[in-house]
Amino acid sequence: MKNSLQKIGAFIAGLLVLAACEPEINDAVKVSKGDLNLDKYVAVGNSLTAGYMDNGLYREGQLSSYPNILAGQFRQAGGGEFTQPLFTEEQANGSGYLRLAGFGAAGTPELAPVTDKLAIRSQNPTLYTKYTEEINNLGVPGIRMSDILTPGYGSALGNPYFERITTNPTQTYLARVVASNPTFFSCWLGNNDVLGYATAGAAANDITTPEIFTANTTEIINALTANGAKGIVATIPDVTGIPFFTTVGPTVKSLLSAAGAPGMIALTRKGSARVPFAVSQIKDATGGTILFPLTASAYLPLVGQRTGKYWRDLARQAVPTNPTLGLANILQNLQVDTTQLFGLSAGNPWPSALLLDDAEQKEVSDATISFNSVLKAKAQEKNLAVYDAYAYFNSIQSGFTQNGVSYSTAFITGNLFSLDGVHLTPRGYAIVANEMIKAINTKYNSRIPTADITQYRAVLFP
């Protein structure tokens, strides 16, 4: 009996050891880099590539840039180190940015600038604390395709974000890209070649000409692929679908409708030409086309008043040394009479910079489509993967759900776009990174796993 009890004891002990076993999901997703060499991934692009968000470049955004997320996933497939020009912890807020400070009485978001822990080393011109180590993320906020051959773009008089990561101010962006010598690259350039014009309400800046865009695209893709590197090229999203342009219009429309106003009169493009439009033409969920940028919200309460506040603000910004003279010049050039009703009269029209009308939208749209066909053609010629951001962001205009979370292109509540209404949240960047991974896997026979997007934040609330 004693003997059999011992056997039973041993048997029970064995069962208890068994109980320590974990359940395994054996057919774990196979990770493979396929046809790719991921030893040195270099990211080429603008603010989106740099991790810009909330109207600024700061450490948290850099850490959640889509190239950094991509590189993290590449590492699972044997990818190399990926260095970013990170702001230090002490200067973590970099250029400064906007945070959501609260909500107004009507539930309107109130944004406040973050001004501590900045990395600004010079105010005039604005320059940032240098980062001159070798880096893999060459994203430069503000850069256009048309800038890549500009000498001195990395100087103190050029782009401060390029200046920050440049040791040789005469080196062009293209030369810097060539010197990086990647084995794999991503290239998402060209947004600013239309975006700058659009966000300025077509009242400032210019759209890059198709000739320059084509020539420079050819230059940079040729350079990136010269050593046989593979890569992914992203297209330019339809800028009229971003919350920067879709948030304010519906408010304008309902305010004017409530006030019984038939329509507005606005300046168009850069000159003094006026365009009248009916309230029904303003875009909201029910229809219409005319877009108001986020920058318009500050001046909405002034519609119908006899005021020149917008022009005084503009003059102070444009001619800080003599705003009085600046204002007189502006009013004369644009033939504005500030004693008339703001936005409702031909004499005191709504500023062009605070509106994207039909003709302006068509310019932006035509350019976007033309640039995208250039980018896609070049990518096809070099047999590169393509992330069609234009098609992607159009496809999600009606929103989608993932992990029980709703996403849309709505401002703040949509979880994708940061507080500037143009750039993405960390969650949005992770979603973009995953879309890129899918395109890369399809093209290069690789099995790079997508990232867990829930580990990246959306908008933070007070």
Partner: protein
């Protein structure tokens, strides 16, 4: 002795666990666990109060039995391709328990008894960082059934029994809310409530021949209705958000615990070998949806509802007992458990799949009156990949295993 054990149980009985199809926990008798949890067709011990009240009248001794089955359940998760993020549960040790006692009278033709046991429960803890956290952080579901029972031998061969069930239920469900505060803390909701409900358990036992017995058991559906449970929200404090998740919100919810019909056979193959086979039909189709009705408008709605649409299932059980001596018996058994969860309805609350249970057990009579039962059950649930697009669940692949040692003492007089 008995009082002491009960007090120990009182300290640990506070969680059941996912353990058969859905959130049924089939751990109601140590001898039966050792035989694949088959026992409706046998008049084996006081646990007949649960398995078949009709068989209770066949028990020849008065006695009590107290047992516990510490339950180690582990669940692994992997997100859908092309992602490869994994997660696993960190479940507390579950402690389903069984307490039975019975007393015979009227020439032993009649027998009264009482059972206290935990036939439903689920404790899963996925934590608040995994990918499915907006679906579930943690769920604790438990039901304690108290069943006074009367059993009567109508003839030498035929006996019947029945008893009302008083069910005490508790539910605690926690989820992350996808609203993040400036300090990075995510929103959170905790739903916590209690329920009291009623049902019954009835059975017939027929000793067809000296060696063959048949049992039929019906356990009714029990509708657990949570009234005035507390919904506690933690969200960013900004007024437009906080006002969508009002403090002091209460909720009502109903969770149906399904009816079970079980047909069992018992066969004394030899003097030493006894076999048992059960077929159990579980009417899970009663569970249509998980709905919470709130006393205030929460995030734009005064209720939340996710479809469940469970299906009825069969469980097949087979077990054997070999008497090494009068004092010592060993057992082994197995069961096949169908999942009531249809494709598209998988949830992290009960990431259910068809399962195979393998068990062993033994009994040792320590003294004339005092006996010890022990069992060990290994449960292997098939790996299951589901889009979870119909249940508001979490898509991905789930795999779970359970290890359940169990022990009971019985005292007969």
């Amino acid at each position: 002795m008995r009082a002491k054990l009960l007090s120990i149980l009182g300290g640990t009985l506070l969680s059941g666990m996912t353990y058969a199809g859905g959130f049924q926990v089939n751990l109601q008798g140590q001898k039966q666990i050792g035989m694949g949890h088959a026992g409706v067709g046998l008049a084996r011990d006081q646990a007949s109060i649960f398995f078949n009240p009709g068989a209770l009248a066949r028990i020849r001794q008065n006695g009590v039995q107290v047992g516990v089955s510490p339950l180690i359940a582990k669940i692994a998760y992997q997100e859908p391709e092309p992602g490869n993020t994994t997660a696993k549960t960190d479940n507390p040790l579950g402690t389903p328990f069984q307490v039975y006692g019975s007393y015979g009278f009227a020439n032993d033709k009649a027998r009264v008894g009482i059972g206290v046991y935990t036939p439903y429960g689920s404790t899963v803890n996925w934590g608040d960082t995994w990918q499915g956290r907006y679906g579930l952080n943690e769920l604790t579901l438990r039901a304690i059934f108290i069943q006074p029972t009367f059993s009567y031998a109508l003839t030498d061969k035929l006996s019947v029994g029945a008893g009302p069930i008083i069910a005490l239920g508790h539910v605690n469900l926690q989820r992350s809310i996808p609203l993040q505060a400036a300090n990075g803390q995510e929103g959170h909701v905790e739903l916590d409530g209690n329920a009291v409900s009623y049902g019954f358990n009835a059975g017939i036992y027929f000793q067809a021949t000296e060696n063959l017995s048949v049992g039929l058991n019906y356990r009714s559906k029990v509708k657990m209705e949570v009234k005035d449970g507390d919904a506690t929200f933690r969200v960013p404090s900004a007024a437009p958000i906080a006002s969508r998740f009002p403090a002091g919100t209460q909720f009502d919810a109903t969770l149906p615990l399904p009816a079970n019909i079980t047909l069992g056979l018992g066969l004394r193959a030899t003097d030493q070998l006894t076999l048992a086979a059960d077929v159990q039909f579980v009417q899970w189709s009663a569970y249509k949806s998980l709905r919470f009705d709130y006393t205030q408008t929460v995030n734009g709605s005064n209720f939340s509802e996710n479809a469940r649409n469970y299906q009825d299932v069969f469980i097949y059980r087979l077990g054997g007992e070999y008497a090494v001596s009068d004092q010592f018996q060993v057992r082994a058994g197995a069961y096949l458990d169908q999942s009531p969860v249809k494709d598209g309805y998988l949830t992290p609350e009960t990431p259910d799949a068809n399962a195979l249970g393998l068990s062993v057990g033994l009994s040792y009579q320590l003294t004339e009156k005092l006996g010890l039962d022990a069992s060990f059950l290994y449960l292997n649930r098939k790996k299951r990949t589901d889009a979870a697009d119909l249940s508001g669940g979490v898509p991905g692949t789930f795999k779970s295993v359970g290890y359940i040692p169990g022990i009971a003492i019985n005292y007969n007089f």
